[in-house]
Subunit: 200 residues, 2 copies
DNA sequence: GGGCATTGCGCAATGC
DNA sequence: TGCATTGCGCAATGCC
């Protein structure tokens, strides 16, 4: 769940440093910076934060936190950037004047040199994209259903809560009544006892 | 809330017919077709479906429906399409061989002829995009918080429900006890009454 | 009308 | 390897 913007930006930058030639702004890395504020909440995967809503008692999340996370990443302009075929428009903003420093980066951050030349035109790329798009739609439908179910569950629980509260009120009142009767009868019984004795 | 793909596709197509020159597939309109299946659920605006979870009892939404909505829209390839500056990559897929039929469309569906020539390079465009991006992040943060709160609410309600159930159990038992005592005392009182009379 | 808010979508990174 | 999840930007549309 780690913030993908850092790596993606670096990677994109690395990409651009080897093949792209766009006019971009050197301010993009702020993306990662400003968003890292809302990590904690965002980082909770659905399977954990929602799954079966189990876990115990420490699911509480400080809701107060995370504000302003939507402030402009950099308010940079991010003007265009058509990659090999002008298809992508994401993670723009890295100066083309950038030299290839990828060799100084950790291997994990280095640009995937010739990652099978993701041609973006290749049928394989389109196939993968299309499959991912399907998966994305599927996943989002699932998420929507999950959210809706949670809302309905909360609604149902609230209604049930009210009924239970009312039931408790009834029981309590009934209990009070019986207690009162009992105490009365107790007194009455004592009086009767006295009266009986005086009758003899 | 209506499916935006229809109009967007038409609009994009109209756009392309007047200025763009890409090689695209004429299969895009299917997008609208396949997604219209999951409307009902998707169409519920947060302000209504979640807002203050008020409204009454008709919030129920047929959860059974909507499945397979993630099936491929068209499995079309949607190869690239760098608009004026190669920035966008959405709603692609409209043959450049298309002629301008926009004049035959209803005014509301017609392409916004020279909608101030959304140059995509203009500072105004970037300004609007950036503002929208900020709004989108803000809105999504809000949605995430809302979802989390709903989950926590459901969790809390469930716990409270269990406590209430236990309380009801206690009260019921106590009530039974008192009722038993009362019935016993009733018998006892009757016996005492008989015993007293026979004593006379 | 102008601006922010929502929402569906595709892309890319990453998780599993 | 492939599907699932998630953040992001774009565009359309809703809502003042």
């Amino acid at each position: 769940m780690s913030d993908s913007r850092v790596s993606s930006v670096i990677q994109e930058w690395a990409y651009s440093s080897q093949a792209h030639t766009q006019t971009l702004n050197p301010t993009t890395t702020n993306h990662a910076g400003s968003t890292s504020q809302l990590t904690q909440m965002d980082m909770i995967p659905y399977s954990q934060s929602q799954g079966l809503v189990r876990g115990g008692t420490d699911d509480r999340v400080t809701e107060q936190m995370m504000g302003l996370s939507y402030l402009p990443y950099t308010s940079s302009s991010c003007l265009s950037n058509s990659s090999s075929t002008g298809t992508t428009n994401h993670h723009q903003g890295h100066p083309n004047t950038q030299q290839d420093f990828s060799s100084f980066l950790l291997p994990s951050l280095r640009a995937p040199v010739n990652k099978r030349s993701i041609s973006k035109d290749s049928a394989e790329y389109r196939l993968r994209r299309e499959r991912n798009n399907i998966a994305v739609r599927k996943s989002r439908d699932k998420a929507r259903r999950r959210i809706l179910l949670t809302q309905q569950r909360a609604q149902h629980l609230q209604e049930e809560n009210q009924k239970l509260q009312m039931r408790i009120g009834q029981l309590t009142q009934e209990l009070d009544t019986l207690k009162h009767i009992l105490s009365q009868r107790h007194l009455h019984g004592a009086e009767e006892g006295v009266a009986g004795e005086s009758n003899i």
